[in-house]
Symmetry: none
């Protein structure tokens, strides 16, 4: 792509402003345009209102090279994207016969009457390039304006818009602006260290890097650092990105749990598959959150046998073989019980690895005055007979502590699996 | 509310422009503002860039009474919403001691180092009203501008932004603009019937009702109808709302699983407590999602004993006593296995109720050519010896099918519990 091409996205539809439809179109287009090396500086949403659309178009044309609209191409009176933009550009409108025939064919195929309001969908501003809609009736279109800008109008439904953009608009843009660099990204997945701490470690690098750029993105208990390079191809991009990834990884050591891992549970399933190990879980405070996350991964059944949600002491004893002595001596939320749960489930289910959680997630306690947020993660490795538990303090004093304590507890359990299997314990 | 108040939403964040984050904040705020009678004519997204944010702010201030920003309040150098808007309004910035203390307390609580860049989060433009963040560190703020506009800056993460808007901004707006009447809402919780069907049943009521208003809100597999009355107090509001709720409930019958229930799992825990019944779960395809949702509810341990995640056939046999004969004859995804799982877990755990899931959520099958989306929910009631399973077909052919199949399967399991206990089977 030519350097510094700027695109702007305008999504048209009152249902988006009202929040009835979430604007996934802007996200899709933003991602696709970034991968082409086209920068999106603004996106906006306007209702089905010609005055406001015209105002938004004027602003967009003052600051972007490429303007992409979605929505407002249908047959009804409140579909007015083409009409408004044609008027703004001082272009007439006429029926595009090719598009009209396609729409008529469609009505024959589905055995429905072609009503007159459908003529409107074949109307095109003079000089526009129609884009066939493979998944609906409303064609899209591209206008090359007299001052060198490109205006692309796409239908609103994602299943019509996405293939039209990929199959029609991208080839058009590549042809128009060939010879171009593209954006390539890799994500460094980090656990167990805060965003502000990481930023202070790499402040200079993050602030001064231009190619690649390095951007932090904090998730609950985790941090992603996205490194993005502008390059002609992936090999060149890797030459730019990989040294930075190595530099950051060398400093953060085992806090880095993966590169482009997707999620901790994906990394866990992946490395268990690699090592042909079978996992089992025993959950108290996380109550199924850990197993839910593992089984979020398609194909988890290859490495995950199952588990026990031992929410009551009876279940801990009966299904996991935790001894009544230990339960009464140390309480359910204890290092000893966590260890027994992890070992118990692995042996009961004949698994290579057992991992457990027990803790205080909410107001309900084990009646020993232990504080909210106290969590033990137990680990058992059958082959080495390794059996230990770590102690965590996860209360943050927020109202959603229950959710975050349970989530971060399950993340810690996943992290223990990754650390142990990768041998960086 | 004063007539014709216009709001504009500006979401700040390069990750939104890049499509890495879908802008659900604008949808949430659009919906909430609409329910307050405040019109949103435009929303826009800008990256973490002070020049572009200033430009978007100028445009918004030229056409809206209320401007709400989300994002850019964090500790890092690319968080610059407050700084940019303060400069635009010619306001100085100073540390808000109350906010600073809250942030410092947070770092003490989580036992992490308070790094200097966190000071930035306590900086406020002169005259701003700080909004405590109950779910994170970055406070929000409200500025009353000299020309009578309101600028509200909220954090980007939805779990911080949504409660701050509901608990801090809505009361502020109601106090500022209302003549003493307030909005009161009740939500009708509906399961097992589609939005368009409900809309067609109550189209006239929904379209013509002014006080109360009736607004549908579709969630995955569920529908909420929010009835909102403008009234001087709750008693008056109930006089307006209750007849409508009765009318709708009479028509939808047992599809209504609660009023202001919060969630299906909250309703389940509540009615189990009322009836002093103890629940157990046996999950295959949901893999812990069901038990996770039940234990999301604080106090679930009073009624939920625990469960088994029986992801492999071995676990189904060993921990739940499902017979090898039945597994090999009908396959793991079958009515018979669902029934045995539900009964097996209830007996093993000495529970009053057992509920089970088995199905095909993704590409992994039980090797019997059963289709993705086929799910059985098993139910067992110890007292009456009731033991049955229902068959569901949950595939929609979308890319997120695995998540939605697992979620809706767990919803159906919760719904069976509610139906049976409420005796409306």
């Amino acid at each position: 792509m030519k350097n510094n091409l700027i695109a702007e996205i305008i999504s048209v539809g009152t249902e988006i402003l009202l929040g009835d439809t979430i604007n996934t179109n802007a996200a899709f287009l933003g991602k696709e345009l970034a991968s082409l090396g086209i920068f999106v500086c603004y996106t906006s949403v306007v209702g089905d209102n010609n005055v406001r659309l015209e105002s938004a178009m004027k602003i967009a044309m003052s600051r972007a090279d490429i303007i992409i609209t979605t929505g407002g191409l249908g047959p009804t009176f409140d579909d007015l994207t083409k009409e408004t933009i044609a008027k703004l550009l001082d272009l007439g409108m006429k029926i595009d016969k090719h598009s009209l025939n396609r729409i008529k064919d469609f009505f024959v195929r589905i055995n429905r009457e072609f009503t007159e309001n459908n003529l409107k969908q074949a109307l095109m501003p003079t000089g526009a390039i129609p884009l066939d809609n493979e998944f609906g009736t409303a064609p899209g279109l591209i206008i090359n304006t007299s001052d060198g800008k490109i205006i692309t109008m796409l239908p609103g439904p994602p299943r019509e818009m996405q293939p039209m953009f990929n199959n029609k608009v991208i080839p058009f843009l590549l042809n128009k602006y060939s010879n171009s660099k593209k954006l390539f990204s890799k994500v460094i997945n980090i656990f167990g260290i805060g965003e502000s701490k990481v930023e202070s470690m790499f402040a200079n690098l993050m602030r001064t890097s231009v190619n690649p750029t390095i951007a932090p993105y904090a998730k609950l208990g985790e941090l992603e650092l996205r490194t993005t390079a502008l390059a002609y191809n992936e090999t060149k991009a890797n030459e730019i990105i990989n040294p930075i990834i190595e530099e950051i990884t060398a400093k953060l050591k085992d806090k880095v749990y993966g590169i482009d891992a997707g999620s901790m549970q994906q990394e866990v399933v992946k490395i268990l598959k690699d090592k042909e190990l079978r996992l089992s879980t025993a959950e108290s405070c996380t109550g199924g959150y850990l197993s839910k996350r593992i089984t979020d991964v398609d194909g988890a059944s290859k490495v995950y046998l199952g588990g026990v949600v031992a929410y009551s002491n009876e279940v801990k004893m009966q299904l996991l073989g935790v001894s009544e002595d230990i339960l009464s001596k140390f309480g359910a939320v204890s290092e000893q019980v966590a260890k027994e749960m992890a070992k118990g489930v692995a042996i009961k289910l004949n698994a290579d690895i057992g991992v457990s959680t027990t803790g205080i997630a909410g107001q309900t306690t084990d009646f020993t005055n232990k504080p909210t947020g106290l969590v033990y993660i137990g680990y058992y490795d059958r082959k080495s007979n390794l059996n230990y538990a770590i102690e965590l303090h996860l209360a943050r004093g927020y109202k959603d502590d229950r959710e975050s304590i349970r989530y971060i507890a399950s993340s810690n359990a996943l992290f223990e699996i990754i650390k142990n299997i990768k041998g960086t314990l």
